[in-house]
Amino acid sequence: MPAMNMIQALNSALDTMMAKDPNVLTYGEDAGYFGGVFRVTDGLQKKHGLTRAFDSPISEGGLVATAIGMGAYGLRPVIEIQFADYIYPGYDQIISEAAKIRYRSAGEFTVPITIRTPYGGGIFGGQTHSQSPEALFTHIPGIKTVIPSTPYDAKGLLISAIECDDPVVFFEPKRIYNGPFSGHHDQPVQPWSKHPASDVPEGYYNVPLGKAAIVREGSDLTVLAYGTMVHVSLAATAETGIDAEVIDLRTLVPLDIETIVASVKKTGRCVVVHEATRTSGFGAELSALVQEHCFYNLEAPIERVAGYDMPYPHAFEWHYFPGPQRVGDAMKRAMENK
C-alpha cells in the first residue's frame, strides 16, 4: 500500500464512499472543480461528476441547512466548512436543527450528515485560521464530535462518520495534514510516509466512532489528547522520560470513558491536553469526569494544558501553541506529588 498523508487519506475516504453509495455527495466553498483549499476533495468532481462534488456559495448556514434537507430526503451529504473558524454562521442550523431533529420528531426524521472542517493552530493562520471550537459542539446533545490524529484513523473515522445516522462534526487537525508534528517548529518537518499510520488501505474499512486508542502504554500517568496534541504529547513523554500512557480520544462525544477510567485507575495521575482555549474547553469536561470516576485513585491534581484564553495571536504562534515544553511541565507537576 502506498503511504498516504492525511489529505490523501480523507480524499480516499470520500472517494471510497462516493463509489460505494450513490447517496453520498460532497460540497463546500471551493470544494468542487478546485478540490478545496486544502485539496481534500481534489479530483472528486472529475471522477464522480459535477453534481456529486461541487462549489457552494459562501454561506455556512446555507451549507448546513441544505445538507439537513438532503439528509431528511435520504442522502448522506458531506459538507466542507473551509476553516472551523468560519463554522459559526452555520452554528444555529447545527445545534438547533441537525442536533435536535431526531429527538423532536421522535425518530421520524434523521440527519445523517457529516460536517468536515479543518481546525487548530501551528500554521501562522492568525486568529481566524487557527481556532479549536470543539467544546462548542461537545456541549450539544445529538451531535457526535470526531477528531483523528493519523491518516489511517482519518480515513476510517470519516467513513464511519459518513455511515453514521446521526450528524457528525469532523474536525481535521490541519497542522498535521502533511505530517505529524511534535510541536518543535524549529525541527525539520516530518512527512507522514515515515509514520506507520500512513499505511492506509486503498478500499473500504472503518474505525469505529466512540473508541479511543492507547497510542502509548505507560504506568506513571495518563495523558488525554486528540488531534495534533497526540503527537505533541508523545514528544513530551519522550523528552521528560515519564512513562506516560497516552490516549488518543479520537471521538469526544460519545466518549470512550472505559478506556480513560481504566488507565487513570492504573496510573493515578492525569494530564489533559488541547489547543482550544482553557476556560470551558473540553478539557474541563475530561477533568470533571476523571475526578468523578477516579477520585479515590488520584494521587495528584488533574492538570490541564490548553490554549490561553485569548484569540490566537498571529505573531505569537509559538508562544501560544501548547508545545511539548508546556505539556512536559504539566506532566512533571502531575508526577511531583508522591
Binding site: 446555507g62 441547512a65 441544505t66 439528509g71 431528511a72 442550523q93 431533529i101 423532536r104 421522535a106 425518530g107
Partner: protein
C-alpha cells in the same frame, strides 16, 4: 461639499395603534383578474412587475375572473371550504383547551386558512412540506387524523412526538410534513436542500416551505433564496405576510420599503404576490410554481398577502399594540366567507349547507377531542413513559445517557 444638516434615525411605526380606527387606506388593490398569467418557463427577468401587483381571482361579488382562475370543479371547492372550516373549528377548540388549562400553549391560523389548504390542494400528495407553526391546514387537508394533532397538543401518551415538543410543533413523515422547529426560518433552506436532493436523484417530487413576513429578516431566508437560485432547486418558497410578527407590524421587517415578493428579484427568481385570502388565487399561484419547478425551471417565491386575524398565540394580546377588530376591516376579507360567497354565487352552496358543514366540523372536532382528552391532557400525568425521554437523542443511546437515565431512577 458636505452639508451640515444633522441626520436623524427613522423608526417605522404602523398607521394605527390601540384607540385608533383601523385604517387600511395604504393597501392598494389592483382589480381581480387584472394580472396576466405568464408561461411557466418565463425568465424571471420578464416577471419584474409581478412582485409589485397582486394576483386575485375572486372579485368583490365572489366571481372567479381572469387568467389565473384555476377552474376548479364545485366538489373540489366544497372540499376546500370544508377543510378551511375544519381548521377554524379545530383552532377554536384547541385555543379553548389551552384557556381551560389542558395544555401549555396554542397558535391559531384564523384568517390564514386558505394559505395552507389551497396550497395542499395544488401540491401533489407526495410533495414535501416544510411549514412554520401556522400551516396546520396542510395536515388537515392531507387527511392527517385530528385526534393525532390533539394528542400532540396535549403531550399525552399517544403524542406522535412523545411529549418532546411544544404544542403545535407537529411532525409527520408519512404526510410529507417536516418536523416544525421553534427556531424561526430554519426550515426554509432545509426545504431547498430537500429539493436539491430530489433533483440530484432525478426524482419528480418538489418541496414547499412557509415562513412569516417577520421571519424574512433572518439569515435563513437569504440562504434559502441563494441556494434555490444557484442550484435551480424545485421548491416553492412562501412568505406568509399576515402583516404582523407578534407585536411588530410588517414595516419592521422592511415591508414599508418594498414588497416581500420583490426580494425574489435580486436572486433571479419569480416573485408572485398573491391575495392569500383568496382560495383560488393561492391555488393558482401554487399550481403555477409547482408546474414550473417540476419542469426544471426552478424555484418560485410567493408572498401570500393576508392578515393575522387573531393573537400571535395564546401568550399574546393584540389589543395592546393594534386597534381592536383591526382584522374585521381587512380589505381582502375572510378566506372562508369569500370561498363560501363564490360557491353560493355558483349556485353550489347555500347558508343551510354552510351551517350543516360547520356543525359537521364541530362534530368531528368534538369527537376527536373527546378521544384525545380521554387519553390525557397536559398536567395530568398521562405523558409518555419517562424512560422515553432519554431516547432518540442519538440512534443508539450512549453510555452517558444510559447513566443519566439510571440516576433519574426511571
Amino acid at each position: 461639499m458636505k452639508n451640515r444638516n444633522p441626520l436623524s434615525l427613522r423608526v417605522p411605526e404602523p398607521k394605527t395603534r390601540p384607540g385608533d380606527k383601523p385604517d387600511f387606506s395604504a393597501v392598494k388593490l389592483p382589480e381581480a383578474g387584472s394580472v396576466p398569467r405568464p408561461e411557466i418557463g418565463a425568465h424571471a427577468r420578464e416577471l419584474l412587475e409581478y412582485p409589485f401587483t397582486l394576483i386575485r381571482v375572486l372579485d368583490g361579488k365572489g366571481k372567479a375572473v381572469g387568467p389565473w382562475d384555476p377552474k376548479l370543479d364545485a366538489d373540489t371547492l366544497r372540499r376546500g371550504l370544508k377543510n378551511m372550516l375544519l381548521v377554524r373549528v379545530y383552532d377554536d377548540r384547541m385555543y379553548r383547551a389551552q384557556r381551560q388549562g389542558k395544555t401549555s400553549f396554542y397558535m391559531k391560523s384564523t384568517g390564514e386558512e386558505a394559505v395552507a389548504i389551497a396550497a395542499a390542494f395544488a401540491l401533489e400528495r407526495d410533495d414535501m412540506c416544510f411549514p412554520s407553526y401556522r400551516q396546520q391546514g396542510l395536515l388537515v387537508a392531507r387527511g392527517y387524523p385530528l385526534v393525532d394533532m390533539m394528542h400532540q397538543v396535549y403531550s399525552n401518551t399517544k403524542d406522535p412526538v412523545k411529549g418532546r415538543q411544544l404544542p403545535i410543533m407537529y411532525s409527520s413523515k408519512e404526510y410529507g410534513f417536516f418536523t416544525i422547529s421553534g427556531n424561526l426560518g430554519t426550515q426554509f433552506p432545509q426545504a431547498v436542500g430537500w429539493a436539491m436532493a430530489s433533483a440530484y436523484k432525478g426524482d419528480d417530487r418538489i418541496a414547499a416551505s412557509w415562513i412569516g413576513d417577520g421571519t424574512t429578516a433572518e439569515g435563513d431566508f437569504h440562504y434559502a433564496m441563494t441556494f434555490a437560485s444557484v442550484y435551480r432547486a424545485p421548491v416553492i418558497l412562501n412568505v406568509v405576510n399576515n402583516q404582523w410578527a407578534i407585536s411588530s407590524f410588517a414595516g419592521i421587517a422592511g415591508g414599508n420599503e418594498a414588497t416581500f415578493a420583490s426580494k425574489a428579484i435580486g436572486y433571479g427568481l419569480p416573485g408572485l404576490r398573491v391575495d392569500g385570502n383568496d382560495f383560488l388565487a393561492v391555488y393558482a399561484a401554487t399550481q403555477w410554481a409547482a408546474a414550473r419547478a417540476r419542469a426544471n425551471f426552478g424555484a418560485t417565491m410567493i408572498e401570500m398577502y393576508t392578515y393575522r386575524a387573531e393573537g400571535h398565540s395564546t401568550s399574546d394580546d393584540p389589543a395592546r399594540y393594534r386597534p381592536v377588530d383591526d382584522g374585521k376591516s381587512w380589505p381582502l376579507g375572510d378566506p372562508v366567507e369569500r370561498l363560501k360567497q363564490h360557491l353560493v354565487s355558483l349556485g353550489e352552496w347555500d347558508d343551510a349547507r354552510h351551517e350543516a358543514a360547520i356543525k359537521e366540523a364541530q362534530e368531528q372536532v368534538r369527537a376527536a377531542n373527546k378521544e384525545a382528552e380521554a387519553v390525557g391532557v397536559l398536567g395530568q400525568g398521562n405523558i409518555p413513559s419517562v424512560k422515553t425521554m432519554f431516547e432518540d437523542v442519538y440512534k443508539e443511546m450512549p453510555w452517558h445517557l444510559r447513566r443519566q437515565r439510571q440516576e433519574s431512577g426511571v
